[in-house]
Subunit: 407 residues, 2 copies
């Protein structure tokens, strides 16, 4: 059960973007495992990809196609197989998938970006499956296809994740709609899932890159479920330019508003991934303030967010704050003066000056831990830097899902 | 159920060392939670302690007493409460515990080292409990007390961990006996548990320090259960000098033999901690070879050993080697050429040149994963450095233990 997250509502179509899904039978029969996104001519596309050294074949191909600067006309996304660790065969399969899509849509293969998610290292003739499903898929392309697509890109996710925002740019209403998948193998370092965000705004190329990087940094790079980094992660921002605004340039008023909307969608998607983290029963924002610099704030925050002991304590609703303290102390902030450290849970002060707050009671701690959303706040008491990340707990269900995922 | 580990057998007493245990009622009634180790005059003691910035009161006191250079005459160890995150009160309590032991044994409090393990941050009047139990404890001191002590220092451990070795130094038989506790909150960075190793050899001070540091580095600093670092960890090496050998100096032949024996005991204890890791059902040696330097080998090894996805796959006996590949690729070896990487499990080659070995079959992979001990070997194919660490899987039982530990 995701924490405080329900199925997408009120998704707004983005002019110039049409979507369709199909059953390609890549791993399981009878499920929609193929998603096609069609982009009108004139659309600009920016992307960021996983930093894993083992990069899946579709990541290599998508990056190369983006880098070549051709106008991107379509995205093809499959679940069921990550096409990672598949060597030359996998690379060929990703390329052939693009060719199949290009043939079906009347563009060139360099104008298609491929994305795969699912099991790593399983050989499968992806291109053949995709080729077989395209004839059913292309005629179904629809500007209202976001809901179906948000569902079809999921793997171990339990609920679809998609959000829309509208803002005004140049007096024109501009729409931003995005969807994402991700539940396990989630950690920062860009960008631990697949996310596709589209806007009908017209945006200059440099401004589009900046929009994407700033949004990713404040959202997908601030979440962790299990500290594992996928081979296939990608976040794509598409701007069709059909809203009628003058092209947005970096630093303009329109840029600020559009940035806010894109960031809101990205953050909502990122938090949705954590809320639907594998086996998650708690949503835990972790804020670290009073650091000398952002890096050490993040260091302490991730040390806590990656600790299995802390995550199981949250699962148990146990205010076992000693585990927080141990994690903070081992985060590698070498000259940390523990007597300056304060810790609070859900607004309740637990540790003051490095030891238990005299006013703290176990009953008050338990009341806070019983909640579904439990903000952790640590003040290091040594500076003014501050960072926030989001994580979830570690439950029996996490072990079950990941022990049974391939069976 | 620990993996391939049974209760201690054939423990050898160490001349000059006597041990006793008692029920002090620190957290639970009716369990032996206090251990006293008495050392004859002339014993040399060396210690290494946790690097956590939150260091428990007993760690601070023990380090200070060791640093002052007084002859150490006793160690007092309690379970049930870690006396960590307890501020000034905790520090006073640790000091008063030493005073109580000193009074009972006729030495000064600076000659006593205190150790605590258990829940963090719970206030308890440790000194009073210990004072109350000492009158029963002191008369029970016995050179054959190792078995009872190895049992009494445990917390979530399911089986006692103690080993003995004998070697000859200067034609004299020399004994090394050690015991350790530790099961959760285990990660390297010295030294993630309590371990007490004694020998009757006579050893020079500098040589004793070197013996300890080399042994710890090759054993306790090479294991991980959950990546959490405790506030209380310590490893102590005691040399009573009663074996009749000439004092062992660094670099001598006797040093080499004694080093081997101490290292064997330390490694057996360290591996025992992993074999009895919280919820462990598999014992997993992780060897990384072909690195440019030891640091990157360890980096890759720990990345795998800390991955919840890999650990749950081992629990499920699932040869989900894509998770290994993803972890290796995200270990931060920036210029890793994945086409050079080889992975084998239990001697079975799975990945060759960065992709699945053509000869690999899922059935063969499953047969290997069904074993209780599964060595992982990764060759990075870029150098001659090699390192090995030891870890265990992540099971339902791990979550249960840590979700229920305080209840």
């Amino acid at each position: 059960m995701p924490v405080g997250l329900s199925a997408p509502r009120d998704l707004l179509p983005v002019s110039g973007v049409r979507l369709a899904t199909a059953e390609a039978g890549i791993r399981y029969a009878g499920r929609r495992d193929l998603t096609l996104i069609h982009l009108d001519p004139g659309t600009r596309v920016a992307g960021v990809f996983t930093r894993n050294r083992f990069r899946a074949a579709p990541v290599l191909v998508a990056e190369a196609h983006l880098a070549a600067g051709r106008e991107i006309r379509a995205l093809v996304i499959n679940t069921g197989n990550a096409n990672a660790g598949t060597g030359e065969t996998g690379l060929r399969s990703a390329q052939e998938s693009c060719e199949a899509v290009a043939l079906a849509l009347g563009c060139t293969s360099g104008q298609v970006l491929p994305f795969s998610t699912g099991v790593i290292g399983e050989p499968v003739d992806l291109a053949a499956r995709i080729r077989g499903a395209l004839p059913g898929c292309v005629p179904a392309l629809d500007r209202n296809g976001w809901n179906g697509a948000a569902q079809a890109i999921l793997t171990t996710d339990t609920v679809a994740k998609a959000f829309s925002r509208q803002v005004e740019v140049d007096g024109r209403p501009v729409t931003v709609t995005g969807m994402a998948k991700g539940s396990g193998m989630i950690r920062p370092d860009m960008a631990t899932m697949l996310a596709f965000i589209a806007t009908d705004a017209a945006v200059e190329k440099a401004a589009l890159d900046e929009l994407l990087h700033r949004a990713v940094d404040a959202s997908f790079n601030r979440i962790t479920v299990d500290g594992d980094m996928s081979t296939n992660d990608a976040c794509i921002l598409m701007a069709t330019g059909q809203a009628g605004n003058g092209p947005v340039e970096s630093g303009s008023a329109g840029f600020g508003r559009l940035r806010e909307a894109v960031q809101e969608v990205a953050l909502a998607l990122a938090q949705a991934i954590v809320r639907d983290g594998e086996g998650a029963t708690k949503f835990i924002p972790v804020r670290v303030s009073g650091g000398k610099n952002p890096a050490e704030c993040l260091q302490v925050a991730y040390r806590m967010a990656h600790s299995p002991l802390i995550k199981t304590a949250f699962f148990a609703s146990d205010p076992n704050w000693g585990r927080l303290l141990a994690a903070i102390g081992s985060a590698g902030v070498e000259d940390l003066d523990v007597r300056q450290v304060q810790i609070s849970l859900g607004g309740l002060c637990i540790v003051r000056q490095g030891a238990r707050d005299p006013a703290y009671t176990e009953a008050a701690g338990q009341a806070v831990m019983a909640r579904e959303e439990i903000p952790v706040h640590v003040d290091l008491g040594r500076g003014t830097a501050e960072e926030e990340i989001w994580t979830c707990d570690l439950s029996h269900e996490y072990v079950r899902i990941n022990a049974e995922y391939r069976s």
